[in-house]
């Protein structure tokens, strides 16, 4: 009596290699997915504005609503725009860190008071201290849509020519400032310095 099954030949080595690669590929993908799902920033949207001109706006100053600031007036030097509100718990949390950063005077830190009662906002700044050189007030939140703001706090870095270079969603930490914001700022400063130095005398 012979074996009813046809004698199965061993798989060719190529098939085994492909199978193993496939298996480990899928395994790697799974591990990557699992790691990624634990990241605290997993549902942050990348800003659509990076590398594009900051939206044009005209907003009143929180401390004196009769003064309106236009986006064009802020050109000429980079600035950091911090979106906050007195209703926002995480903003309170990032406040000391932002203040410490602002006090280094590396760059202008401008506040963007979003959907807030001016009285509440002023009280908040009075209680916690005002790290901003200027606070813009967007009570209706109309301009914030142009900036692609989804929630507070959010922080933008805009360069001297008015182009958005960097954005962070969530409360700033010292780590974020050191590892992300400052390098971006250095890049800007480098880029700003270079054309001036590299400009050969026109002849």
């Amino acid at each position: 009596m012979s074996d009813p099954r046809p004698a199965s030949r061993p798989l060719p080595p190529v098939a085994i290699v492909i199978g193993v690669l496939f298996f480990f590929g899928l395994l790697g993908l799974m591990v990557y997915g699992v790691m990624k799902s634990g990241a605290p920033d997993r549902d942050i949207l990348p800003s659509a504005l990076i590398g594009k001109p900051a939206p044009a706006f005209a907003l009143p100053v929180l401390h004196d609503p009769s003064i309106t600031v236009h986006s064009s007036e802020l050109r000429g030097a980079p600035y950091v725009l911090n979106v906050w509100g007195s209703w926002c718990a995480a903003c309170r949390e990032e406040h000391p860190i932002l203040t410490r950063f602002a006090e280094t005077k590396r760059v202008r830190v401008i506040g963007y008071n979003w959907k807030d009662e001016p009285a509440d906002a002023l009280r908040w700044l009075e209680q916690l201290g005002n790290p901003f050189v200027l606070v813009l007030s967007d009570i209706e939140g109309r301009t914030a849509i142009d900036w692609g703001v989804t929630a507070a706090p959010e922080t933008f870095l805009v360069d001297a020519s008015g182009v958005v270079r960097w954005k962070y969603s969530g409360a700033l930490t010292q780590r974020v400032i050191d590892t992300k914001l400052l390098p971006e700022l250095e890049k800007l400063e480098g880029a700003n310095a270079q054309p001036r130095n590299a400009l050969p005398p026109a002849e």
């Binding site: 949207l45 800003s47 659509a48 509100g85 959907k115 939140g141 692609g148 929630a151 507070a152």
Partner: protein, 205 residues
């Protein structure tokens, strides 16, 4: 109701720590929506319970707890951002239908598993208002989508346009199926070539 709004409320409840009960640092959730979410309407139940109105002592305390929770709702609402309470004003039924169809196609940028139509986050309120305004200014649906994509990225579209970046997602499965079918055909052909036809003597076995 999972995600954002909940997390946000957690954060403010637990103070500066910003950690969930399992100790993980809270993400942007905190990064709070100026949330209309905190005043999310509780489902108001009928006064007579479904089991026929017979008072059961254990359940009574549950109702008391619910009543207390309802009483506390206004307190929760205090920490809200400025919001415009006026409802959206449609000019006619056709516009309303068009608006709802469009809003269902757009994703809320904050509560990312809800559509713009469903979300109660403050930013969704603002965006709905903006979408309606754009509509009333005579913009087409495509223009309105473009407006939002320019600001929030392709993420806001539930059906993003096909481009080179996501073509793998569109055609990947098809390529896999065709590839698999190809391999299958190849293997079957090779096998059939190798199987020897049975001899006359074996056939009757």
């Amino acid at each position: 109701m999972p995600s954002r709004v909940m997390r946000c409320r957690l954060r403010s409840d637990f103070g500066a720590e910003g950690r969930t009960t399992n100790g993980r640092a809270l993400p942007v959730g905190s990064h709070c929506p100026p949330s209309a979410g905190s005043a999310r309407p509780l489902v108001v139940r009928p006064a007579t319970p479904a089991w026929g109105g017979r008072a059961v002592p254990a359940l009574f305390s549950l109702w008391v707890a619910l009543a207390v929770a309802l009483l506390l709702m206004p307190a929760l609402a205090l920490a809200q951002a400025v919001s415009d309470p006026t409802p959206l004003q449609y000019r006619d039924a056709a516009e309303e239908a068009r608006f709802h169809a469009l809003a269902a196609e757009l994703r809320c940028v904050q509560c990312q598993n809800q559509s713009l139509a469903d979300s109660n986050a403050q930013i969704a309120h603002d965006l709905r208002r903006e979408v309606l305004t754009l509509m009333q200014q005579g913009n087409s649906d495509a223009q309105i989508k473009q407006f939002l994509v320019e600001r929030y990225g392709e993420f806001v579209l539930y059906r993003p346009a096909m481009d080179t970046r996501n073509s793998l997602l569109w055609f990947g499965p098809l390529v896999l199926v065709l590839g698999g079918a190809g391999v299958l055909v190849w293997v079957v052909r090779r096998r059939s070539r190798q199987v020897q036809p049975m001899g006359e003597s074996e056939e009757r076995w």
